[in-house]
């Protein structure tokens, strides 16, 4: 039971808005000590895991390209493009991106799009422009919400598309864990059972995107 102290530290730390890096380190130390590890062993375990997961941070190599393109006006161009397309409403734009992201993830192309690669330089400015086209008095709060929904749409498309792909990490994990219990299950079975949820995710989020579009058409202080 004592090892749960790390979870309490994380929850309290995030709620009190301490610097998350400090909170994580404190949680790791407290959890390790509660489990009877010595400090050096905890630091080494953390260091090993940090080194093993470096691939998580390599996505930042796209920033020089994004920086170059933005300096030459990529975001403005993305807005202009949307301005020219009369049928490109906020809801249709983000729903199309949702479908595209789900479809790409479903065939294993998860890193093709993402927040630094596509959301910041393209999807978010396009969504903003589409909202502006119907409402010339878009407030700052509304602008924030549109951008937040652009990021949310990327996440939802990724999460509820990727498990349809046979060779994704989560499917291999499920196969491995169930094998440990003596069940031999083909990856295809897991993939097929991800499809109903993928459809439900598209319908639910698509519906919310339509409501977002309506909400953004009204000038006002809706947060």
């Amino acid at each position: 039971m004592l090892v749960l102290i790390g979870i309490l530290i994380i929850i309290a730390g995030f709620l009190l808005r301490f610097n998350p890096l400090l909170v994580i380190m404190a949680s790791a130390l407290a959890t390790g000590l509660a489990a009877g590890l010595d400090i050096a062993a905890i630091i080494a375990a953390f260091g090993k895991a940090f080194n093993d997961t470096r691939y998580v941070s390599i996505v930042w190599i796209v920033l020089p390209v994004i920086g170059l393109l933005e300096a030459y006006g990529l975001q403005q161009h993305a807005r202009t493009l949307i301005g020219r397309m009369k049928g490109a409403t906020l809801g249709r734009l983000l729903t199309s991106y949702l479908l595209l992201r789900q479809a790409m993830a479903a065939v294993g192309l998860t890193s093709v799009a993402g927040h630094p690669q596509t959301v910041r330089p393209l999807v978010a400015p396009m969504a903003e422009a589409a909202a502006e086209a119907r409402n010339d008095a878009l407030t700052d709060d509304q602008r924030e919400e549109v951008k937040a929904f652009a990021a949310a749409t990327d996440n939802i498309g990724l999460f509820f598309g990727e498990d349809i792909f046979l060779a994704i990490g989560s499917i291999l994990l499920m196969k491995g864990v169930l094998e440990g219990y003596g069940y031999q299950i083909e990856p295809l079975h897991f993939s097929l059972w991800a499809i109903p949820t993928a459809i439900a995710a598209f319908l639910i989020h698509g519906f919310r995107l339509r409501r977002l579009e309506r909400r953004m058409q009204k000038p006002g202080a809706s947060a």
């Binding site: 790791a28 489990a35 260091g47 090993k48 895991a49 940090f50 959301v119 949310a152 509820f160 989560s170």
Partner: protein, 312 residues
């Protein structure tokens, strides 16, 4: 053959250049903190495998000490004026879009190429390697046509990274915390707690506990992968599969997706929820999570219903 090692070298050099440029930026009172922070990250990328576990641990402690005491931050200004951007966009717009699409296009083409033609690159890391190649090609094409000052991509890239700040390594830190939790057996303790909370003999109660447990434990750990083996051992296997005869493929597949609903609602999944908020320069760091809750909650209910309907 190209391996992930090549990508780490590329990332290491990029962070090293960010560090040097940051250190030289006299307009920034926090330039020393910035220089050391990104410099240490460059060291980790370039030489992490030679530092040893304890050495890497000390490197992490140094990163946390620098960022946790507020020693890193962005310099004011540095943006290109919107009028200049608009003027350039009118001239180069379609070309910029083309270059932006080079990165996903190369990532896509490379993923297939490296899987079909063995020996070129490590097929297990095909997408990450292709992404890195896409970055290099896009940069070369962009530089050749636009002819900007040589350091402009790095200076602008650094400005974007400084805006993200310490959140840039938050995902990696949380993944490492998960490893310490696993070592300490946190998962088993949580699983036992949830297992004892289920009313005896109720099928729907067990399905509900499994689905909610996946989502809640994923929120705590920031990752459905960590929650899955624990919840399967505590509830999925003994109750849903063994006692009630549920189909293990359905329980596992839809249970995992119930966990993904939890990922949408937690700051612990920093790379999906907090990093984009920083990258899009939102005022509310939890803005993305707020936008996702309205989808995650009904979808979680749907997943619980699906397990109940399809597994039995």
């Amino acid at each position: 053959m190209i391996t992930l090692g090549f990508v780490y070298v590329l990332a290491g050099l990029t962070f090293a250049l960010f560090a040097v440029l940051g250190l030289l930026d006299r307009t920034n009172p926090k330039r020393f903190g910035n220089g050391i922070f990104w410099g240490l990250l460059a060291l980790s990328m370039l030489a992490g495998d030679r530092l040893g576990d304890f050495g890497n641990g000390l490197l992490v402690l140094a990163l946390v000490a620098i960022a946790g005491t507020g020693q890193i931050g962005r310099a004011p200004g540095g943006e290109i004026a919107p009028e200049i951007q608009a003027e350039r966009a009118a001239k180069h717009g379609p070309f910029l879009l083309l270059v932006a699409l080079i990165i996903p296009a190369v990532a896509l083409a490379g993923t297939f190429l490296f899987k079909w033609v063995p020996g070129l690159a490590d097929p297990k890391q095909a997408t990450l390697i292709s992404l890195a190649l896409g970055v290099l090609i896009a940069l070369a094409v962009g530089m050749a046509r636009l002819r900007p000052p040589a350091l402009l991509p790095l200076e602008q890239g650094r400005r974007l990274l400084d805006a993200v700040g310490w959140a840039a390594i938050l995902p990696q830190m949380l993944a490492s915390l998960g490893a310490v939790f696993a070592l300490a057996g946190v998962g088993e303790v949580v699983g036992d707690l949830i297992g004892t909370a289920i009313p005896e003999g109720s099928l729907f109660g067990a399905v509900l506990a499994f689905g909610l447990g996946m989502a809640l434990f994923t929120m705590v750990m920031g990752n459905a992968f960590a929650a899955f083996p624990v919840m399967l051992a505590a509830v999925g296997m003994p109750l849903l599969v063994k006692q009630h005869g549920g189909d293990p493929a359905v329980v596992a597949a839809i249970g995992m997706l119930a966990g993904f609903c939890g990922t949408l609602m937690t700051p612990m999944a920093a790379n999906f929820n907090l990093v984009p908020a920083a990258l899009l320069e939102l005022k509310n760091p939890y803005g993305v999570i707020r936008a996702q809750i309205g989808t995650a909650v009904p979808l979680l209910a749907v997943n619980i219903l699906f397990i109940w309907l399809f597994a039995f």
